[in-house]
Structure formats: structure tokens, C-alpha cells
């Protein structure tokens, strides 16, 4: 036993093989079954991440606030969905409750608390968010208890998975990708084409001009938070049937969404989409090639992007 293994006598043997398994990665690219399965798996991870990250990036783009408490919206979405599913047994209603409930929560959060620190230092805004991360986690623990919960898969989706080109694709995940994609399109088109979208973009660009035109910026800001909350809540609701619910569940999702937004560019919706998909694919293919360093791979990627292009892949160039 050499000196390096001294600290952990009971440690598992660790050969080079499990940190790096490029053979598995290479052989996956030659099999259509593996490609289809891993790609859809990457899409699923990516699309859920996108729903959370896009709210984060939207809020930053319009309000210049890094919403540290965004993970809590995801958590509330999941819990709201679980409770309404248990009460009504309707999956559609559960999704609706998850999304609408957090939208209202986002609106209240912005109007009552965040709006008070807009002029203040960035750190003050972060502190308010941090305070709510702590408070929301405890509130969930008070209401739903400290133990982990599970919503359960609706019977409609308890069916055999589809086989596409030899790859396995569960129907529920098709629905999930579809809903997330629809949300992305509605959001993208809404911002680009509708009047409200234009006002929001204008508010991001020049808030004083917008308010000079007699438009209530407070309403816009609240609305942006509500949209962000809605999307994160929807992500939580969609995830509830397959992920266990615990207080603090939003945290790891928040960290990953941060990576997504930073890679994609803070404030860019397209960037969030591309970043989320990239991250999803890094996860699904990285787990084949670098099983022990998938997480590290994401941070490394983030460092590289930040250093070479601080504003992210699709962000506006910073002066």
C-alpha cells in the first residue's frame, strides 16, 4: 500500500478504468440504439434544466438581478403539483397548480421584497435571495415534513417505453420534452412578436424610457418574475413524478441552471436553450466516457467559456 492510499484504508480500488472509459463512449457512437437512448436522455435533462434556467436568464436580462432563490420556485412547483395530484388525482390539474402557484409566488416575492432592493448593491439583492432560500426550505419542511416524498407516475404513463431505432424512449419523457419545447417557443415568439414582449425587451434595454412612456415598470418587473416562477414551477411539476421531493431539492438544480445561463450568456434565451442542451448532452455522454468526472466536466466547461468569452456563448459582449 503506497502513501497515497494511507488516508483511506478501506477505500475501493480505483483503477484508471472508471475515471476514463473512452471505449464505451466510442462504441456508443457506432450504435444507433445507444445514440438514440443517450441523446434523448440528454434532451430530457436539458429541457427540464432549460425551463429553470430560462427564468433565471430572463430575470437577469430584464432586472439585472441574479435570482439566487430560483431553485425554490422549482421546489414549490413540485410540492404544489404533488399535493394537488394527491387531492384531485388529475395530472393536468397538478401541472397547472404547480405552474400557477409558483407564478403567484414569484409575483409576490418580487413585489413585496425584491422591488425594495433594485437600487441597491448587487450583494444586497443576493442577500435577499439567500434569505429566501433559507426561509423557503424551512417553510417546505414545516408544511410537508422533513422526509422525502414521491408524487408517483400517473397510470396513463405507466406503459412500456417506445423503441425508436433500437433506442429506448419512455412516453412520459416525450411529453416532457414537448411541453418544454412548447414553452420555449411560446416564450421566444411572445417576446419577439407581441406588444408585451416588446415592452419587456424595452424595459430591459432602457427602463427609464419605458416608464417615461407611462408604462408601469413595476408591473413588468413583477410579470417577469411571475413568468420565471411559472416556468421553474412547471419544471418542478413535470419532474415531480420521477424525482423525489425534499426540502432543499431546488439547490442542485439551481447550481446547474447557473452553469447553463453562464455558458449560454446571462440574459440570452437562446443561450439558455443551447446551454441546457449542451449540459444535458455532456451529462448523458460524459457519464459513459468520464463516469467519475461528469460533474467536474461541467465546471471545467464553465471556466473555459468564462475565460475565453466572459459574456457566454450567446451573451452580449461586455465592455
Amino acid at each position: 500500500m503506497d502513501a497515497w492510499t494511507f488516508a483511506r484504508p478501506s477505500s475501493a480500488r480505483r483503477n484508471g478504468n472508471d475515471t476514463l472509459d473512452l471505449d464505451a463512449l466510442a462504441s456508443c457512437f457506432t450504435s444507433s440504439a445507444c445514440l438514440v437512448t443517450q441523446t434523448t436522455s440528454g434532451l430530457i435533462i436539458g429541457m427540464l434544466l432549460f425551463l429553470v434556467a430560462v427564468g433565471l436568464t430572463l430575470i437577469f436580462g430584464v432586472l439585472k438581478v441574479v435570482n439566487f432563490s430560483h431553485g425554490a420556485f422549482y421546489m414549490f412547483g413540485a410540492y404544489f403539483a404533488m399535493t394537488s395530484y394527491q387531492l384531485t388525482g388529475s395530472f393536468a390539474l397538478a401541472m397547472l397548480c404547480g405552474a400557477a402557484g409558483t407564478a403567484i409566488l414569484g409575483l409576490i416575492f418580487e413585489r413585496v421584497f425584491m422591488s425594495r432592493v433594485y437600487g441597491a448593491d448587487v450583494l444586497m439583492q443576493l442577500l435577499v435571495c439567500y434569505a429566501f432560500v433559507l426561509i423557503f426550505d424551512d417553510v417546505v419542511r414545516l408544511i410537508w415534513g422533513p422526509e422525502f416524498r414521491s408524487m408517483g407516475m400517473p397510470t396513463a404513463f405507466q406503459v412500456v417505453p417506445l423503441f425508436i431505432a433500437g433506442g429506448v424512449v419512455p412516453p412520459y419523457y416525450l411529453l416532457l420534452i414537448g411541453v418544454a419545447l412548447a414553452a420555449a417557443i411560446v416564450l421566444g415568439v411572445g417576446l419577439a412578436r407581441t406588444r408585451i414582449g416588446k415592452v419587456i425587451r424595452a424595459a430591459a434595454y432602457n427602463p427609464s424610457m419605458v416608464s417615461a412612456l407611462g408604462i408601469n415598470t413595476g408591473l413588468i418587473y413583477g410579470g417577469v418574475f411571475a413568468i420565471g416562477g411559472l416556468l421553474a414551477g412547471l419544471a418542478g411539476a413535470l419532474a415531480a413524478p420521477v424525482r423525489s421531493l425534499t426540502p432543499g431539492m431546488g439547490f442542485s438544480v439551481l447550481i446547474e441552471s447557473f452553469i447553463v445561463t453562464v455558458i449560454g450568456g446571462m440574459g440570452s434565451i437562446l443561450g439558455a436553450l443551447i446551454g441546457a442542451l449542451l449540459l444535458g448532452l455532456i451529462r448523458s455522454f460524459g457519464s459513459l466516457g468520464f463516469p467519475l468526472f461528469t460533474e467536474g466536466l461541467m465546471y471545467l466547461f464553465m471556466v473555459i467559456v468564462l475565460v475565453s468569452r466572459p459574456s457566454g456563448l450567446f451573451g452580449k459582449e461586455v465592455a
Partner: protein, 343 residues
């Protein structure tokens, strides 16, 4: 202009006045430091409470860390979300050297500082080019990278279970750190010396350079200051003090754990700074004491400390809108000004 910036600007406006009397000020600092140390050193004679000594030791660890973070946040305007990595680096560096090589403690201490300096220079060289929120993100990314390395490289670092089996504390020069009072006095010495050194940095011409960079980097570079180099220097200096804090923590718990290098430590550092105030040198120290008291009392009474802590944070962020020391100092100056205005 936000109030925080206003406070900082006021701080830098008074700079010339300070500079004139800076020699006198330094003697004053020395006196204050000596007095503080005397009070701390007498504490074990007055009270036999081990918990009080433990409390001061923890204050030293977090205080050094938080004050060094303020060199970046308050003095240079560099908001680092990854400062905790150097806290962890100090704890792990020191612990690993003592466990594996077993050199005398002062040597391990210096070697850890040397390692920290090298690592901080490399990371700093990459990070300090970035501005504002991007600097914050890239430091955070490095912190997470270091944290996941500690977790993955378990044959060396002990993985998630940390450095176990205790860190040896062989006596040196008649000092035996396994003795509680000796450990207490040693951390007091480190705290007071560390604070004094940071105070000197802040009050030196270099300190004023930093403030100029914070307030107007363009102007600083116009008058011939190498901004990148100054930022890198303060980044490395701050890392050294954070690392010292980490070593005190490693001595206290006789181990090092991955949580020391997690982003939450950085978050707590920022929080301490906001709690105590960033425009006053002793603000972070006050913040440390406040946070530790708060933490220790609240966890004693409820497991829902998140709610309590959250409400307190909201009080500071939305109510006071600044740290306690900043608030007090401002309130004091206002009162003095009003009094002199009337007189």
C-alpha cells in the same frame, strides 16, 4: 448611486486626511492590537469557560477569512464567490502536511502559505481579468472545481469523509497546541497579527491604489497603475489570510472536511461582510461575532434556524440596507456633523 457606493466614496474622499496622519495611525493600530491581544490573553484567567475560548477560536478562523474577503469586496470592489476555496486549501494543506510528513507546526504553516500563494497566483491570473458578476462566477466555478476534486481524489484527500484520525499537534518552542489554552492563545496571536497586517495593507499606498481601482479603474490605469497586477496582488494576499483562517479551523476541529472548500463557506463570508459592514475595517470582524452568536443561539432553540436567519438577513438587507458597523459609523458621523452644525 447606491448607498453602499456612497459610503465607499465617502471613505475614499477622506483618504488624503488619513494619509497625512498615517504614521500616527499605524502606531495607534499597533496600540489597539496590543490592547486587544492583552484582553484576549487575560480571558482564560478570568473565565474558565471552555466554550468561550472555543468561541474566540472560531471567531479567529472566520474573522481572518471574512476580513480577507473584505480586502477584495470592500476595498477593491472584486466580489469573489469562491474565496472559500482558500479557506479549504489552508485546512487541507496544513492537515495533509502534518498527517503525512509530520514536520514542526510552524514549518507546515509556512509551507501551506507557500502552496496557497502558488495556487492563488494561478487561479487569480485567470480570474482577475474578468469584471463584476463574471469575476464572481468564475471564482465560484473554480471553487466548485476544487471541491469536486477534493471529493473525487479520495485516496489523497479522504473524499467526502475528509482528513480523519486527527491532525497531529506536536509541541514546538514550548507551545503545545493540544492544550486548549495554548491553542486559544495561538489563534488569538494569528488573529491579531493577521488583522494588523491587513490593516497595514489597507492603509498603505497600495491600499489607496486598490480603492482607486474600485472607484474608477479607468482613471487608475490612466495614471499608470497596472490594474491587473494590483488586483492579482490583493487576490493572492487575501488568499493567504483566508488560508490562515482555514488552518485555525483545521487546528480547532483536528481535521479538514470538504465542506470547508464548498461554496457555502464563501457565501457565509459574503454574508458576514454584509452583516458587519464593508466600509469599515472592523466591519467583517463585527459581522463574524454577530453571525456566530446568532448561529449558536438560534440552533440552540430551534431546528428551523433557516427562517430565523433569513428574517435577520432581510432585516439587514431591506431594513438597514447596510452592515451594522457601516450603519453605526454613519449614524455617528451624522450626529457629530449635526452637533457641530448647531454649535
Amino acid at each position: 448611486m447606491t448607498e453602499l457606493q456612497a459610503a465607499r466614496a465617502a471613505d475614499s474622499l477622506s483618504a488624503p486626511r488619513l494619509e497625512a496622519g498615517s504614521k500616527r495611525l499605524r502606531y495607534l493600530d499597533l496600540l489597539v492590537a496590543l490592547a486587544a491581544f492583552a484582553v484576549l490573553a487575560l480571558l482564560p484567567l478570568v473565565s474558565d469557560s471552555k466554550a468561550l475560548l472555543d468561541f474566540v477560536i472560531r471567531c479567529s478562523a472566520y474573522g481572518l477569512f471574512a476580513t480577507s474577503l473584505n480586502l477584495l469586496v470592500g476595498y477593491t470592489g472584486m466580489i469573489s464567490f469562491g474565496h472559500g476555496m482558500f479557506f479549504g486549501l489552508g485546512a487541507y494543506g496544513y492537515g495533509l502536511i502534518m498527517q503525512r510528513i509530520g514536520v514542526p507546526i510552524p514549518l507546515a504553516f509556512l509551507a501551506t502559505l507557500a502552496i496557497t500563494a502558488v495556487v492563488a497566483t494561478i487561479i487569480g491570473a485567470i480570474c482577475v481579468r474578468l469584471k463584476e458578476i463574471y469575476f464572481a462566477f468564475v471564482t465560484l466555478a473554480f471553487q466548485m472545481l476544487i471541491h469536486s476534486t477534493i471529493l473525487s481524489w479520495s485516496s489523497f484527500t479522504g473524499g467526502d469523509q475528509g482528513l480523519r484520525g486527527g491532525i497531529p499537534r506536536p509541541p514546538f518552542l514550548g507551545i503545545d497546541l493540544s492544550n486548549h489554552v495554548h491553542l486559544y492563545l495561538a489563534s488569538c496571536v494569528l488573529l491579531v497579527l493577521g488583522l494588523l497586517a491587513m490593516r497595514q495593507i489597507a492603509a498603505s499606498p497600495f491600499g489607496y491604489t486598490l480603492r482607486m481601482i474600485r472607484d474608477n479603474p479607468m482613471r487608475a490605469s490612466f495614471i499608470g497603475i497596472d490594474v491587473w497586477r494590483a488586483k492579482l496582488t490583493v487576490f493572492v494576499l487575501a488568499a493567504l489570510f483566508a488560508s490562515t483562517g482555514g488552518m485555525v479551523m483545521a487546528l480547532f476541529v483536528s481535521g479538514a472536511y470538504p465542506e470547508f472548500a464548498y461554496w457555502t463557506i464563501s457565501g457565509e463570508g459574503i454574508f458576514i461582510n454584509m452583516l458587519g459592514g464593508v466600509a469599515t475595517f472592523l466591519g467583517p470582524m463585527v459581522g463574524t461575532v454577530l453571525l456566530l452568536i446568532l448561529n449558536d443561539t438560534v440552533t440552540r432553540f430551534t431546528e428551523y434556524h433557516g427562517i430565523v436567519l433569513g428574517v435577520v438577513i432581510l432585516f439587514f438587507a431591506i431594513g438597514l440596507r447596510k452592515g451594522l458597523m457601516d450603519f453605526v459609523v454613519e449614524w455617528y458621523t451624522q450626529r457629530r456633523d449635526r452637533a457641530s452644525g448647531q454649535g
